[in-house]
Subunit: 916 residues, 2 copies
């Protein structure tokens, strides 16, 4: 017999797959002897069975009956008993947290009879009727699908009729009338009476939680968070405890450390005389834990003790939901808490100091995405700024964009290419699409644990919440703040670190972490060299920032010590190269020489390509050799002692030719005007028409152009070799490597390699020096990966060009589909993430694996790297580590991220192999 | 010890890898007791060793010495002996025939002393000096790299000085002087005397043959013919026999059957008093074998007997080189002979009749390429034509094009997109590039066994040779024929079946084989139904044609009986479908519905795509449904009882939108003119700019457009299902299948499939009928193949779209690179053949294999086919058979070719597995 139901005393924290996160943690807290209200968990397996059968598995009902009896025995009350009713909450609890995505029903067990028992037992008739009102409202909306707005309207009407300002002002009679109204709404909407039988309520609520797994918004959330769609949710049935039994009761959310900054010490929100949903929804503003200490020192002390216990036990920041019922503390939930990027680094480092975790574990607690986040630029403090208001900093970073008032507009504006700040009174799960599309989120209501704050932190979006000075009118589509009115389409700048909101577009400057990364710890701390002072006029950084920078430094160093992947950078200029080297790059993995032919030099390349014959061509080439030689010397000099990989020219042909449409219009206009068309234009037009490509991405690029235009690659090889020889003769240590782009067949590489080897041999012989110049190739076409065993015969190294490999493997032109199609594909679940952002392991990744394995089989010494944008993407870096590459090469800014993730990949694969 | 040298008595015909074709066949003839001059063969292994070491392997010299001693003993003469010299020829002989590509040196062993011995022994002083003269000329050019023209000029000068009309008129004294001149040319050019030592001559000649393996022209030939570059050549050292010892001597080339028509009976060319090179080079015009019968009945009888023996032994057409030396017949070479397409079919069928081979073997003797060749259209006999001359038909077909006089011009004109007829006095291996580029070849000199004829037949190019009425002047770039002068760039039409050459461009009509294929044997023979008579007014076909058609019919029927692959057709109209069915297609494997939206209907699709909203869109769609329904009914009706695979719309977006450049020019011109630009044009321009794609090949196509434009695919599924229901209600047997294009991820297919299944279910339920509509997908992106195990979950069948799969796997836009790049790539050996013509087995083919195997692993019942152009390509069909596909779908014209090759593939894989 399958066990579908577990009492809290039966499970533990390792059973998340089966009991969900909440259930497993409730069981663990029970095991630890913390005050958890008795209850039981229905497994995710039961949910999966339900979803696949379309009905509850037969055994489930029996097991729920038995668990309920056990619960009733434990608390000494009967569910919905007319005299002293046991009430329960029915809460979803999936393996992965999906805040606000799924259903919860409180107060199950109340009906027309038990409400009176509750009134008697609690001695608070108003509380009993308020609880019943809440049950019908929640049950009606989530179980019976009655539109929530109908209850809200009825509540507003009741307040108006009775002239009450707030919910709390409603009297027992008001509430009794409201219950009657709610029940008639249910009858009208569903054609049936509100179910009075307690067990029927329980069964329907369980089923509603199961069903909530598959709502559209839950599916969208999982896609966004890359949570598998087939896990199912567990259901927790928990004895109700009440935070709304007067002033000695209350409910709260707490963190064992500050999730925003990582500062040690408990932190939380508390609402007296309230139920849990009131805190999370952000509808009322909250008190702090210090306030609780004054109100109820005993409960506060118990809470602090429980939190210390949890943190020592979980060895990490925990967040907690708790309720105080008439001075008695109940722990309703705990989990390892979400945190900002900065907090993640500081907490990990502190936990090492506190000897709770090792440095390896600390590395697993932070991510490259978090580091990237820390390096996000900030709003420039020194620029002219018009402060609109100051509110709560919920998720750090700087966001500057045009205002949108709902998801639809935010998505539309983003699709037009605009940066958008989504502004809402408060957010709910329906706003998810808009939050994804926006660069930042601003709400007028709610605290740091409100929906907007939690979700935005999870996404790494800049977010400011609780800006109560702002009157947000989503119908008029305006924000009013005193005299100022902001309209949709106007610009705002928000600072997720300070909570400030500015009118208009504030310039953006580097963050302290960025400064640390670029200039080192001392400089960033405003220390030794005093450079910071001179430049900014400020006296170092504050203590929190200093602590953060030290934590980042510690973990980056540890990552460097652990990682197996080398990290190189993509750089085309000495400046980029110098920046990359200061960021820790161990060489240039990709120098895109076509970037050296922008501006004035473009004309030279155009002349080479359009040349009428060899004489015209070689004249242009002769001009190019010395220019290129100096380009390459600059790079070799900055990267002295480290590899510099020169990729031979890979222009999309059209980028080096005049635009066909523009030129056609120009010639046509000249034709009808008074002047004759310029003969040079006519000649160019003819050439451009001849060379015009329908699909330049798949045209005469890379090695193809190199083989078609005689001497083109030779001039670059010559210039690079001469540069290396000159460096050598200057006593330097140049490590030149030549890379051939867009190879699809080993023959192409042989042809280029033969020529290049001859040139290198001739030049070194003439100079009387010895120079080893490895010659390798990009693997950026499916065929290159599929025939890697052949291509390796002619290559010293492979560099996987996963940008182009993604384009060809999927048949996607990034320019054409990323904006138009990908939004649709993310929406309908074809993608969980753009394959240009994180490597598509099943398709593109399989080719990388084939290429790496089969290339190495031919040539065990083959160097293997990657130089697409994926080289700087955290998840992709783990993939490349696992596939066995030697290095990743990414943009200079992402070098630290790649270093960190490479270290994490090493730790995690060591862990995996140690476990295996 | 490795055996590098084999006496002719040691080898046999199965040793071609080691002894080359010529050596193995000489050994075989020796074994059969035919009169082969004694000699020995140096192995291909020796050549490979030589080429890799850069010098002869040590053992080789010793083994040659021993073989030479054995030879001298056998013939009782010493190499280069001053009294009675043994002379030898040194001939290349690779595994695969490479006519004219490699070196031969005759008369090795002659020097200043032995020439006198030869004169005495032969009693013909002039012959001896002429032989010596030939040795120096051949040896000088091929071994010593003296430009051949210098000897030719010296010969011409000698004739002029002595006032002799031809070579034959030169006297002994003339020749003695000429030898002196030749020797001084050698001295001047090489700085050394012509080598007098016989063994030195032999060793140098062997080395020259080895070296000739790697000349550029040999490498190019092998690439063109797909002969591996690393085989090496064998070298045959053969006792010289002389066809130039007066009128009782001669030399010839013969075939056991007519290689041009396949007619039974020996056939050949004979030149009295000549050496072998004179026949092959086509310099002198030849006699027939009948002439030989009159001249030398005994030798003729021996030759006939030898040829019968060979044909019975080889069970195939053999070609032979022979020499008669003073009435004694010597067999110098034999091999299975090349033949025209028509001859291949007739010979294979005759050999079955003669019980020499089985029908399976007969199938292996013909190819789809040959069948295609037979189906080539011919010049229209009924049109106005101006006959320029009539010459020898060397390779059949009709070629119409502009005249080019050399390879450079032929290649340049072909690159411009012109059809070219290459016109030469005679061709030599340097003309190979031009022959590849041309559609037809015409020479003024040479016979059916000349270089031009042999090579053109091998390539399947139309060729006419020996047009002696034409005076070809490659310097003036004119052909003069009486009063008529044809210039480069003028057009000619040549008929390779009749040998006729016409001025200008003659219209082209179907061949008899084509007529047979389309209308059946009786109709093509002009028989029973009399339709041929009515239409053409002719009384059937001639006997040769009738015999050919019967042979084709027999082998096609046998192929149908043997093949495992079904053959379907790509067809978009009922006419195409009907044609395909008459050609034997067993269904429509691909209906490209985008082809149904050309002309007037294009506007409808443009409106659907550019629609401002759902209303505008659905109005256009409502117009489309009935049109599409009738389209599909037409196809289902013609293909009643057979599958009709409807591929949902796969337009490159730009093909259905106005051209951006044209529209921009139009609007710009209207702007500067008196009129305002048309507002409709402005609106369209805005839309086209918005939807303009940089790489339409990789843009919003296929399933992507289907998922982006709501209702687009639904309308097609609806129309197709309604069509099938209507057919069903008419008592027909429709087999509708729906195919989704450009799928890269199983999710895309799920989305389309879910919608399509709903539509089919709704429509069939409403109509009260049962209809099974398999839904499959194209596999035309690398990712689709790589994730086939997932995609198979949602597919009933896969159809590999190898055109697009080739484009994406190689990253080639066919439009852009096929003309510009591929000529270069074929030239420099990156390709042996365009991957769009024959499937690239290593790259694209590997994806097909992965897709097929892994798709079937998920779903064993998965249907597998191919619908790219490769579906009609002979070599590719063998690959698809081997990979285990169920069907190929190709253009209607190629259906018979595919049937034949599918049969051949089955025979050959049965043979392979029987052997294995």
């Amino acid at each position: 017999m399958v066990q579908y139901v577990y009492d809290f005393s039966q499970g533990d924290m390792d059973m998340k797959d089966l009991l969900g996160g909440k259930g497993a943690n409730l069981a663990e807290m029970t095991r630890l002897g913390l005050p958890v209200p008795p209850g039981f968990t229905i497994t995710t397996e039961a949910c999966r069975e339900y979803l696949s059968l379309g009905t509850e598995p037969g055994e489930l009902r029996v097991q729920v009956t038995m668990a309920l009896r056990h619960l009733e025995d434990a608390v000494g009350r009967q569910l919905g008993d007319r005299h002293d009713p046991l009430l329960v909450s029915v809460r979803s609890g999936a393996k992965f947290s999906m805040p606000g995505m799924m259903e919860t029903v409180l107060n199950v067990g109340l009906n027309d009879a038990s409400v009176k028992g509750l009134a008697e037992e609690s001695g608070d008739e108003r509380f009993a009727w308020d609880s019943y009102r809440r049950l019908i409202q929640m049950f009606g909306a989530t179980v019976l699908d009655v539109p929530a707005a109908e209850f809200a309207t009825a509540l507003d009407d009741a307040k108006k009729a009775a002239r009450r300002a707030t919910d709390v002002d409603l009297t027992t009679d008001d509430l009794r009338t409201l219950v009657a109204t709610y029940k008639s709404i249910v009858l009208e909407r569903t054609g049936a009476e509100f179910p009075q039988h307690p067990r029927e309520q329980l069964d329907l609520a369980i089923r509603a939680v199961f069903d909530s797994w598959n709502t559209d918004r839950a599916r969208l959330y999982r896609r966004r968070e890359r949570i598998p769609q087939d896990l199912g949710t567990a259901v927790n049935v928990v004895t109700m405890v009440f935070g709304n039994l007067g002033d000695t009761s209350g409910t709260g959310v707490a963190f064992t450390r500050d999730p925003a900054t990582g500062k040690p010490g408990a932190y939380g929100d508390y609402l007296p005389n309230a139920q849990g949903e009131d805190v999370v929804s952000g509808i009322r503003n909250t008190l702090s834990l210090d306030d609780l200490k004054h109100l109820d020192p005993l409960s506060h002390k118990q809470l602090m003790k429980a939190m210390r216990r949890l943190e020592t036990h979980y060895r990490d920041l925990c967040d907690i939901e708790f309720t105080v019922e008439r001075g008695h503390l109940w722990m309703l939930q705990t989990r390892v808490g979400k945190r900002t990027a900065g907090a993640a680094f500081r907490i990990a480092s502190h936990l090492v100091d506190e000897r709770l975790i090792t440095e390896d574990e600390a590395l697993e607690r932070v991510t490259g995405a978090q580091l990237a986040h820390l390096m996000f630029p900030q709003l420039d403090r020194s620029s002219e700024r018009t402060l609109l208001t100051r509110a709560m900093a919920a998720s750090p970073g700087a966001a500057v964009g045009t205002v949108a008032f709902d998801s639809a507009e935010a998505q539309a504006a983003a699709a037009r290419g605009e940066d958008v700040v989504l502004v809402r009174r408060e957010t709910n799960p329906d706003d998810l699409g808009g939050m994804i599309a926006a660069v930042g989120v601003l709400t007028a209501r709610g605290g740091k644990t409100s929906h907007a704050a939690v979700v935005a932190r999870g996404m790494g979006k800049t977010c400011v919440v609780g800006a109560e000075a702002l009157e947000v009118d989503p119908v008029a589509r305006t924000i009013t703040c005193g005299d100022v009115v902001v309209h949709e389409g106007d610009s705002l700048s928000i600072d997720g670190t300070t909570g400030e909101v500015f009118l208009g577009r504030v310039p953006v400057v580097p963050s302290a972490a960025q400064r640390y990364i670029e200039e080192g710890l001392d400089a960033a701390l405003g220390g030794d060299d005093g450079r910071a002072e001179e430049q900014s006029g400020e006296q170092g950084v504050d203590d929190d920032t200093a602590d953060l920078l030290r934590a980042v430094d510690r973990l980056l160093r540890h990552a460097d010590a652990r990682r197996r992947l080398r990290v190189e950078a993509n750089a085309d200029t000495p400046d980029d190269a110098a920046r990359a080297r200061s960021l820790g790059a161990e060489g240039i993995g990709l120098c895109r020489t076509e970037h050296m032919f922008l501006g004035e030099r473009r004309a030279l390349i155009e002349r080479v390509i359009l040349a009428d014959g060899p004489d015209e061509r070689s004249a242009s080439m002769d001009e190019l050799v010395p220019l290129q030689r100096e380009d390459f010397r600059g790079l070799l000099d900055v990267m002295d002692g480290l590899p510099v990989t020169i990729r031979l020219l890979d222009p999309p042909l059209h980028e080096f030719l005049p635009d066909l449409t523009e030129l056609s219009v120009k010639v046509a206009l000249a034709d009808v005007g008074d002047d004759e068309p310029d003969p040079a234009d006519l000649k160019r037009l003819a050439a451009v028409e001849r060379l015009h490509e329908t699909n330049p991405m798949l045209g005469l690029r890379g090695v193809r152009l190199g083989l078609l235009v005689p001497g083109l690659f030779a001039l670059q090889v010559r210039a690079a070799t001469e540069a290396a020889i000159a460096q050598l003769q200057d006593g330097k240590d140049p490590h030149l490597e030549i890379m051939v782009p867009l190879v699809g067949s080993v023959q192409e590489l042989h042809l280029v390699r033969d020529e290049a080897e001859r040139i290198v041999a001739d030049l070194t012989a003439a100079a009387g020096v010895t120079l080893d110049v490895p010659i390798g190739t990009m693997i950026e076409l499916p065929r290159a990966a599929l025939t890697a065993h052949r291509i390796a015969e002619a290559a010293d190294f492979f560099s996987f060009g996963t940008n182009d490999l993604t384009q060809t493997t999927w048949g996607f032109s990034r320019d054409d589909v990323e904006r138009s199609l990908f939004i649709k594909y993310l929406e309908n679940g074809v993608f969980t993430i753009s394959p240009f952002e994180t490597i598509d392991a099943d398709g593109v990744g399989r080719l990388v694996r084939i290429g790496a394995e089969e290339g190495r089989r031919t040539k065990p010494s083959l160097g293997l790297g990657v130089c697409g944008e994926h080289g700087g993407d955290p998840e992709s870096i783990h993939f490349f580590h696992e596939v066995g590459l030697d290095y990743v090469s990414c943009s200079p800014f992402r070098v630290p991220i790649a270093r960190l993730e490479a270290g994490r990949a090493a730790v995690s694969s060591d862990g995996a192999s140690a476990t295996a």
